[in-house]
């Protein structure tokens, strides 16, 4: 599937901003975190036509107007039940055998 690079006014998109660059980060931040920016993503409805990676304006679900770089058009939820983890299968087998006997 080819992802669209253009979005129209009203489309649901994800916008990106850098809140703090590495040198602006708070003093108490650990060293590895200090090396990277504090980044932010907010989703909303596009208020104008735009191309992917453009600076855009969106209206969020609470009605806030947020500007930022449009990094995703029609963002979906990527999470799943993950890959098979064979070790998990062993737990039930063992417990049933202890409780109910047999070689289940």
């Amino acid at each position: 599937m080819v992802l669209s690079l253009k979005a129209n006014k009203g489309d649901w998109v994800n916008v990106y901003n850098v809140v703090f660059t590495p040198d602006e980060r708070a003093p108490q931040v650990p060293e590895d975190t200090k090396k990277v920016p504090l980044e932010m993503w907010v989703r909303g409805f596009l208020t104008h036509d735009a191309n992917l990676n453009d600076e855009v304006e969106v209206k969020t679900l609470t009605g806030r107007l947020v500007t930022g770089k449009m990094v995703e058009i029609a963002p979906a939820y990527p999470h799943t039940f993950g890959k098979h983890v064979p070790e998990i299968m062993e737990i039930g087998k063992q417990l049933r055998s202890i409780l109910f006997g047999g070689d289940c």
Binding site: D32, V42, L61, H79, E87, L99
Partner: protein, 470 residues
Amino acid sequence: MSRDMSYEAVMGRRNEIMKKAVGIDYSTFESGSIAFDYERMMKETGYTLEEMQKIQGDTGVGNTPIFELKNLTTLARKVAPEGKGARIFIKDEAGNPSGSFKARRAANAVYHAKKLGYKGVIAATSGNYGAAVASQAAIHGLKCIIVQECYDSKGVGQPEIVEKARKCEAFGAEVVQLTVGPELFYTFLQLLEETEYFNASLYTPFGIAGVETLGYELAIQMRERVGKDPDVVVCTNAGGGNLTGTARGLQKAGAENTEVVGASVSLTGLHMASDGQFNKKSFTTGHTGFGIPFATWPDRSDVPRSAARPLRYMDRYLTVTQGEVFYMTEALAQIEGLERGPAGNTSLAVAFTIAQQLDEDKIIVVQETEYTGAGKHIQPQLSFARDNGIEIKFGNPRDEVPGENIIFPEHPSMIEAQELDLNKVRKSLVKNALKNFNTTAPSADDIAFLAEDIKAEEAFVKEAIKDLTK
């Protein structure tokens, strides 16, 4: 004129922003030093138990069932010494509208926001509380923003948190997602200032008091069921509100002799604000990374005085490993037919250990479960761990090193929650109090307050101060 939005400037406006956003003037409960009037704060700014039951009942929250885990009890008896193996019960809080006990906290906070005329609510949380606030905001017709710490610098999100974002949006909330770092609080303050919404903090008196109904209900249900109060109630402990509210509810029900036990997943060695370690952990809450800092200094929260003060009520504090909790989560599904989210089963793993220490006629209640689903389930969380280089294997849970491996016990007899030295934890709170108020000579009122705050005698506090100021 535009306001200064630098980190320092916004943090500097913290108290002013918070006062406006929670509607509580905390200064009226302050003594000027360590002590403050906790009970008066809870009374004047909270709700009575009856009011809370009504508020929660009106939105479908509470009155969740309690199940007896008979097969798990049998299992505990098989591995326990002769005559030991208390009966284990679980309160199925996943039955709340948002899928966890957090609905109780959110119900009160959002009701209160609406009563005070706020147009919306904001909460800073990556956990079940976000979904709970979003659900309640949907019921009350308020706007809602949830601020999450979700991704590492490579843009990889914890599956459990990504799922929570989905659930919040499912309830119509706006979700603001950030990479790792304590400056989340900056963004949170900025949003409060911009929107003038209510801060549905986890740590206000209304939020904490919302959990009192859980402890109260639990005591009444067990009296009806087994004719007596539970001997032990185990609460998963992170920010401290779950344990605090539950214990207060038990007290309100008159369950004076019930032992209240805190349970956390041990994440020793992992830094909570580290970008590199963010996706090396498989628990995003209920762990020692929150449990210990919040127990030993409750006022690190997002309000000046936290209503969640777990050491006031805690009788024991035990930790379990990630592998032990995942194992128990799978056991709950495999031998009890209850598929629930892993984080809520932290207290179940601890209960399994305590059951083996108590006689067979004793009663243990695990006071929560949470919903499960894509991302928020043993399978995706372990699969994610493996993808992040975490070794998953069977072995001795005592060999688990957070961030390196997850060890399933080779046999259920190897599940053994570890007792923390509660006196050491109590001393840490005294130490933090002296440090935060920059004093070595607290007043008599401060000492009396500290004794209550850690459930100890004044002599214990004095001794701790003597040791600390030597």
